[in-house]
Subunit: 403 residues, 2 copies
């Protein structure tokens, strides 16, 4: 093929020979295996995709809104940049029930957490970032793409995979990515730990970007929003998603909270984000927002609670099976994820290959989430119950044979 | 309110006291007028939002796909990062009918053109950009947000608002934004002009980002894709949208074409964009893509052709009314937009206020699209026929009274 090289300077981010995005890379390996073994009955505990269908009330609202676009009298064009009022109100109500007071114009409806976790960085330049590790690889990629100076704060078995701010070396303000309940470790920050991060941010004049995508899996005294901690509105943006709670991985809807108190370099971040989103996006489809509002209704939330229970039970099954095989495990209590130490000198990548070949079970190699996780693997409880039980038994078989 | 200023460095883009995004600013002024005149019967020829409902086949496909998510057997989670195969094939077929050959993996399904016109720049750093003026304000904002060095190439009445590459001063490679049929002027680039831009890009080793959002309004020998011009695959990305053709302003679906031939700084742009989108997005909702595929079906396209005719007739009505009042006008032949020279020493902003106050008709002040358009206003033919006719008569009245 004839090619044409223009002389534009490519971002450093794209210059380095970067591997594929973690889950794209894993998907490629699975495809390769499938090609070589077309009859293999593979069960995926890999990518954290949900398996339960949407709540009927959600689908009905989604379809009804889609049909409204057929009639001139109910047709809607461009959605409001920051979300429909009915959805923003529903989100404010959702927080109210978590004892967090927000106002409608602190809410920005989004097409999911992933994009927001990237795009928020466009507001800053020439900045430091702190990323706890292991963590969702999007944080590190977003920072690299934006040219941030990144400090990795490692969590490990030693501290129960709960990273603490004492370890941060960066002086002065930084963007600090936190996620609780954590992807991939499944561990959740106790209130005291979250408090210490908020204190750290206030003292060092940093900004926390709090990824609350798994909040609906938390229970007991685990905060389900960073704003449950006093002072957080002065130092934190929260990014949330309906993907794992209401099963919206394929619907694409979430939100970002930017309290009005937050100011950087003389600019109110809530205003900056309003300007940015109006210029760079055209909002989220009305039917999608109607579906989201249904998911946050009483009936929708009831369905979510049942789904969360179901996935937590899957995770419990996986964890108890692994533990009974003598495997060290984290998570599963406030999270759909089980984070396992790979046995017998396997690293995560080897264990991924071993499990795929010998049990036709897909796990996610821990190394993709950070160096300190390279001897671990993440197992998702978000698959179907029947398949989860079979996968657990298959894993037991290959782990028992290992001894 | 207590505030907290962190010490993160804000991007230069947000530091300068930038006005609101054009259409957000206009919307604010209209709100103000409405508050003061609650009974005013305002007709908007402002923001280019569509008024016809979606094709029944599109709504039915959208709703059917939404309902599929209710059943476990037809539920779908994460969409593929770059779009469903069925939609990419439909898009390739759409181009085939325009005599352009593309392959599926040169298509990236998006949630609309606006976001893509911004995000594509994340691939580059420290680069020059050429923006023809007047143009969609998103180009200038995207470049400013990315810190590009921007050269504005003015088009004016002199050259019929068709900018030519001879005017470009930037030496060496640049990102060149082009849009035909043009927003806001409604003029369309004849094949020879588009050819000259492609030759310019190839010679100067630049990259064209071609905004084809209004392609469905072009007729005759006006190219409906930049790839209708030989050599364009070696120098151009095309961004397209179903917003104005199939009425998807509220559904949010479009696509970006990145030919495999394109290389910048040793990196194949198609690969770079794959990596970027997999890392920064989770694709477009399946029901939205099902709706888009229906819009590109034979029946869907038939509906689009009728809608385009309808909007073109609206634009023709507006233009002929204005011309009969002695107003100099552009557009309306290959575009739903009429671009009018404001009469009697009005600039665009004054005429906007004058038309709102005296005719309760909203137009968009030209200055928002570029300095050379500050004495012009854009009128959209995308509103309802009845309202368009009334708006035209009201404008005739205030223009006649002016003389």
């Amino acid at each position: 093929m004839k090619e044409s090289t223009n002389i534009l300077k490519i971002s450093d981010y794209f210059k380095c020979k970067r591997g594929d995005y973690l889950f794209a890379a894993v998907a490629k390996e699975i495809e390769k295996y499938k090609k070589a073994n077309p009859n293999a009955d593979i069960i995926s505990l890999g990518v954290g995709d949900v398996s339960l269908p949407l709540a009927p009330i959600v689908c009905d609202a989604y379809a009804k809104a889609a049909l409204e676009l057929k009639e001139k009298s109910t047709f809607r064009g461009y959605p409001p940049y920051y979300g429909h009022d009915f959805l923003k109100s529903a989100i404010v109500g959702y927080y109210k029930d978590k004892s967090v007071d927000l106002s409608d114009d602190e809410i920005f409806v989004s097409d999911g957490a992933k994009r927001e976790l990237n795009d928020l960085l466009t507001v800053f330049s020439d900045f430091d970032a702190v990323i706890t590790s292991p963590s969702y690889p999007v944080y590190a990629d977003a920072c690299a793409a934006r040219g941030a100076r990144v400090e990795i704060v490692e969590a490990s078995a030693e501290n129960g995979f709960i990273p603490l701010p004492e370890r941060v070396k960066t002086k002065g303000g930084a963007v600090v990515y936190l996620c609780s309940p954590s992807n991939p470790t499944g561990t959740a920050y106790p209130r005291e730990v979250l408090k210490s991060w908020v204190e750290f941010a206030l003292t060092s004049r940093s900004l926390i970007i709090f990824d609350a995508a798994y909040e609906s899996f938390a229970s007991g005294d685990i905060p389900r929003s960073i704003y449950a901690v006093e002072g957080a509105k002065m130092c934190a943006i929260e990014v949330c998603s309906l993907s794992k709670s209401a099963g919206f991985t394929g619907v694409r809807c979430g939100w970002t909270v930017i309290p009005k108190e937050l100011v950087s370099g003389g600019v109110r971040l809530n205003d900056a984000w309003k300007r940015r989103q109006a210029t760079a996006t055209n909002g989220v489809s009305y039917p999608v927002q109607a579906a989201a509002a249904a998911a946050l209704s009483d009936k929708g939330r009831e369905y979510t609670r049942e789904a969360v229970k179901y996935y937590l039970e899957n995770a419990r099954i996986l964890k108890s099976t692994l533990v009974s095989c003598g495997i060290e495990c984290y998570g599963a209590e406030n999270s759909p994820y089980v984070f396992m130490k790979c046995p017998n000198g396997f690293d995560g990548q080897n264990f991924f290959e071993f499990a795929l070949k010998n049990a036709q079970v897909v796990v996610t190699p821990g190394g993709g989430f950070g160096e300190s996780a390279k001897n671990y693997a993440r197992l998702s409880g978000l698959n179907d119950r029947g398949k989860t039980v079979v996968a657990a038994e298959r894993l037991r078989r290959i782990l028992d044979n290992q001894e």
